[in-house]
């Protein structure tokens, strides 16, 4: 006995179950490590300069340090990037913008905080107009220094590569 509607009725569940199956597959070792391997070489930070550490950030992507070797290419739109590098102090006004930028980025996304200011205020620890980034974002790495040398930024990025390759990034980075 064949039911003409059976195929249709099955279709709805098929879609859902196939998505689940794909999800399951992606989270399993061979595919997942392939995916993470690919992600790790395309960490694209968004062009979002928050403070004076941006001067060193620019030096990182400029010829002498040339982070493009590691697939690190600052890009314009938050929609096409997956790394938010907080370059120094976050003021209250800027923090709101940073949150919007972060929400617009597709997941998985990572946040690296650069500079003493982004850790705990640094030289501006007693200012009335700054926020601490770790209260807003799940941060993968902090880069100490004021400003950190470009080598230090490079090291953080390489560390992040390894972390992503090992699939150890936080749950938060994957959600939404």
């Amino acid at each position: 006995m064949t039911c003409p509607f059976m195929g249709l009725a099955f279709l709805g569940r098929l879609e859902e179950s196939s998505r689940k199956a794909a999800q399951w597959l992606v989270e399993r070792t061979p595919v997942r490590s392939l995916r993470d391997w690919a992600i790790s070489f395309s960490l694209w930070p968004v062009h979002f300069t928050t403070s004076c550490c941006g001067a060193e950030f620019a030096a990182v992507s400029a010829p002498r340090f040339d982070m493009e070797r590691y697939g690190f290419l600052p890009f314009n739109s938050p929609r096409q990037t997956n790394l938010l590098l907080i370059e120094g102090t976050l003021t209250r006004k800027m923090a709101r913008a940073a949150e919007i930028v972060y929400q617009q980025m597709p997941s998985p996304k990572f946040v690296v905080a650069m500079g003493a200011c982004a850790i705990d205020g640094g030289i501006f620890h007693n200012s009335y107009n700054i926020v601490r980034p770790h209260e807003l974002f799940p941060i993968e790495y902090f880069i100490p220094g004021c400003p950190p040398r470009p080598e230090a930024v490079a090291q953080a990025i390489v560390r992040l590569h390894e972390k992503v390759k090992r699939s150890e990034y936080g749950v938060k980075a994957r959600e939404t």
Binding site: V46, H47, F48, T49, T50, S51, C52, G54, A55, E56, A58, A59, A62, P63, R64, N76, P78, T89, T91, K93, M94, A97, V101, I123, F124, N126, S127, Y128, N129, I130, C146, P147, R149
Partner: protein
């Protein structure tokens, strides 16, 4: 959704078609941290509202909460790419309050670092001007060559960007060995490169088309608006705070203040190139003329315990005793002006006789140039805005303090 809401979205209202607003930033491809609210009529700009304050880190307040000497590294963070020139004004103001004068060698060394910083700062500005018109090669070249000067500064002071080199009464370190050869080599390299810049950027027809004749600022307008720095001199006004002879050794050297008459975006860019040449000329003269002698004023050298004084003088590296951080500022006030890469910086330090300054007022060149974002773009096409922005060499953390 009720139909009225839908209608409101679908149908045009009165006044809709005339002017609309575009928000640019604070996340945008160039340097970021500022927002321009642009009002457009079709493709023509009718008004721009620069919305600054994204990097307002309250320097003036924090400088009041620190000992006078500790405010130097703080104020340096305003313009990290030009940190000697941004603090020299503050140091001069403190020196006037304290009544000390730096010895000649220290003044020469300050001038040396000032000019190295000026070149680095101009290269930064030129690189960004390149990225504004999507000329990535210019960005790469300028930032690559900037490293040459940063390395020189690092050799002299020990830090890539945050030098904290000048202190009241002198400088922190003496000239390292072999510095002169390296500096001369850098100058020779840079002179060659400047010609190449002309070939690839300044004489490039596409760049010319974007920058030439855009954002013209006339001399009398520049005077009235209080514009400073290369933006002023590109409009034909010969003013430079170095001419005041208040700091450094500029009155003992021979150099020109480059001036251009056109006042458009292109001349503002070209002027930076001219200034780089002049700065290299100054560095050459400084290296030739630098006299021997101490690098810190006698008054403060005596504060260093004798055990440490000898090695400090021999090594040319001053390690300050703690007493130095507790300098008492005499009651009074002092004004100082200095020329940064971006323009003139103004300091007014008021003291009530305690260790901390009572009030530090600083007006930075970028803050004074903000008014140009209001003044220049109206009447231009929207695509000219990046060219105008790029030519102004605006550095937001400096304007917001």
């Amino acid at each position: 959704m009720s139909s009225s809401v839908m209608e409101a979205r679908l149908l045009e209202k009165e006044g809709d078609e005339e002017v609309y607003e575009v928000f640019i930033g604070p996340q945008h491809p160039a340097s970021g941290h500022m927002r321009l609210i642009v009002r457009l009529e079709g493709d023509v700009i009718v008004g721009v509202d620069p919305d600054i304050g994204w990097v307002h880190r309250t320097m003036e307040k924090l400088a009041e909460s620190k000992e006078a000497l500790k405010a130097i590294p703080l104020l340096e963070r305003m313009t990290i790419i030009d940190s000697q020139n941004v603090t020299i004004g503050y140091v001069r103001a403190l020196e006037k309050l304290l009544g000390v004068e730096p010895p000649p060698r220290a003044r020469y060394l300050r001038t040396l670092l000032s000019e190295i910083n000026r070149i680095a700062s101009h290269l930064y500005g030129m690189g960004l001007a390149g990225i504004f018109v999507n000329h990535s090669t210019m960005f790469m070249w300028c930032f690559g060559d900037r490293e040459v000067w940063i390395q020189l500064a690092e050799e002299l002071t020990g830090a890539r960007l945050t030098h904290s080199y000048s202190v009241p009464g002198g400088v922190r370190r003496d000239l390292p060995q072999g510095f002169k050869e390296k500096a001369l080599k850098a100058i020779r390299y840079m002179e060659k490169r400047l010609d190449e810049y002309h070939r690839i950027f300044f004489d490039n027809p596409q760049v010319r088309a974007r920058y030439e004749g855009v954002g013209v600022l006339k001399p009398h307008e520049a005077r009235r608006l209080g514009v400073v720095g290369p933006n002023l001199r590109a409009s034909g006004v010969r003013y430079d705070a170095r001419l005041l002879g208040d700091y450094g050794v500029y009155d003992e050297l021979e150099f020109e203040i480059p001036v251009r008459e056109e006042g458009d975006a292109m001349s503002r860019l070209l002027l930076r190139g001219d200034e780089i040449r002049q700065s290299m000329n100054i560095i050459r003269q400084v290296l030739d003329k630098i006299p021997e002698g101490p690098i810190l004023a006698e008054k403060y050298l005596r504060l260093i315990p004798p055990k440490l004084r000898e090695p400090a003088l021999k090594e040319g590296r001053i390690k300050f005793p703690g007493i130095f951080a507790n300098l008492k500022l005499p009651k009074g006030e002092a004004v100082a002006r200095a020329e940064m890469g971006h323009g003139e910086i103004f300091y007014h330090v008021t003291s009530d006789g305690s260790k901390k300054p009572y009030r530090v007022r600083v007006v930075t060149p970028s803050f004074r140039n903000v008014i140009l974002f209001r003044y220049l773009p109206p009447g231009h096409r929207f695509m000219d805005l990046p060219a105008i922005y790029g030519s102004l060499d605006y550095f937001p953390p400096e304007a917001d303090r």
